[in-house]
């Protein structure tokens, strides 16, 4: 009997905690849990449909409904939870949520690895051949994530590897003649 009551009070506590947790993720406009959530640069959470309607209501004076700092459609960030149902939900009346901006992380690019190859070649004294090999390596085996064929990056790399190939061949001919 006592145990049952304890359990009940525990579960009540839990549900209270849950409610308190959820209220942190309430949209500042409709006061419901934010759907298609976006966050302003000032850190305030909204449903995108709610915020969009607010921005439309006063197109000439777009301010955050909470702190009144300047706000705009371009300067809000969408929030994606794990079970994002974004694509399943057609929002006809409201334009789609602003896209998240993806910035590529820095990594070794073509030039970086090409110069490394050059350096090593000088070190072991068999420069032209290893250079030639490393040039070929790039075209045959992909050391980097392959850029999609047809993309500008792909075209650039093709172009550059051809130039290196030509330079290497000229170098070999020059050495043979010398």
């Amino acid at each position: 009997m006592v145990l049952v009551e304890e359990d009940r009070s525990k579960s009540e506590n839990n549900s209270n905690e849950k409610n308190a947790d959820n209220s942190q993720y309430e949209c500042n406009i409709c006061l419901d849990t934010a759907r298609d959530a976006v966050i302003s640069l000032c850190g305030h959470l909204f449903c995108w449909p709610c915020l969009h309607k607010w921005l439309e209501t006063r197109p000439n004076n777009q301010t955050c409904p909470v702190c009144k700092s300047a706000i705009s459609k371009e300067k809000v960030i969408p929030l994606y939870g794990r079970n994002c149902t974004d694509k399943k939900d057609p929002r006809d009346k409201v334009p789609p949520r602003p896209q998240g901006q993806r910035t590529e992380a820095p990594r070794n690019n073509f030039f970086g690895s090409g110069l490394d190859g050059l350096h090593v070649s000088f070190g072991i004294g068999a420069f032209p051949f290893s250079f030639f090999a490393s040039t070929f390596n790039i075209t045959t085996e992909n050391r980097m994530p392959a850029p999609a064929p047809g993309s500008t990056q792909y075209a650039e790399e093709q172009f550059l590897s051809r130039i290196f190939l030509i330079v290497a061949i000229i170098f070999i001919i020059w050495i043979l003649l010398a």
Partner: protein, 200 residues
């Protein structure tokens, strides 16, 4: 379909009713219909003001476009205040106009109105006569505001009996009670000037 306005008022209503802070501040909210479009608000006059001890009823109408547009609020209880019309109860407060923001709630509106009672803004008046009196004859303004609190808002504090006898004088001449009080209040309680204005 439940509109966003209705859904929000439901939530806000709960918030106001369950908040301890609001009972401390003497703020109340009451529903007048089932579709959450009309409410009655109530605020207590803030301490250390001429409105202390008074209770002010407010008419609150929720537009369909709420919360993207502000609620329409008006004083039902008559009040002598630079930013509130002594005739219609209309309110001049920026957040009920262009400074409204969608994250504001009825709770913030009621608290802001209470703050307005404590700190009038005579340079942005709703009632020009009251605002002018506030600036040029502040002592009479305070007495008059306190008198109105006593007569209309149920305060039991200082009643200004000489004001009452002047009002009675005009009523005896056949003038309406409230009109007589407005005329006297507007003319620094000068009986002759008040009578003159009532005849015009």
């Amino acid at each position: 379909m439940v509109s966003i306005a209705t859904a929000r008022i439901k939530r806000e209503f709960k918030e106001v009713v369950t908040s301890d802070e609001l009972t401390k501040c003497k703020i109340k909210l009451e529903l007048l219909n089932d579709n959450f479009t009309e409410l009655k608000g109530e605020i207590g006059g803030p301490p250390d003001t001429p409105y202390e001890g008074g209770t002010y009823q407010l008419e609150i109408k929720i537009p369909e476009t709420y919360p993207f547009n502000p609620p329409k609020v008006r004083f039902l209880t008559k009040i002598w205040h630079p930013n509130i019309s002594s005739v219609t109860g209309a309110i001049c407060l920026d957040i009920l106009k262009d400074q409204w923001a969608a994250a504001m709630t009825l709770r913030t509106v009621l608290l802001s109105l209470q703050a307005l009672l404590a700190t009038p803004e005579p340079d942005d008046p709703q009632d020009a006569v009251v605002a002018n009196q506030y600036k040029t004859n502040n002592k009479i303004f305070v007495k008059t505001a306190r008198h109105w609190t006593n007569i209309y808002a149920g305060s039991t504090l200082a009643a200004e009996p000489e004001f009452d006898s002047k009002v009675k004088q005009l009523i005896d001449m056949g003038f309406d009670n409230h009109k007589s009080r407005v005329a006297l209040s507007s003319h620094l309680w000068n009986v002759e000037h008040a009578i003159e204005s009532l005849y015009n």
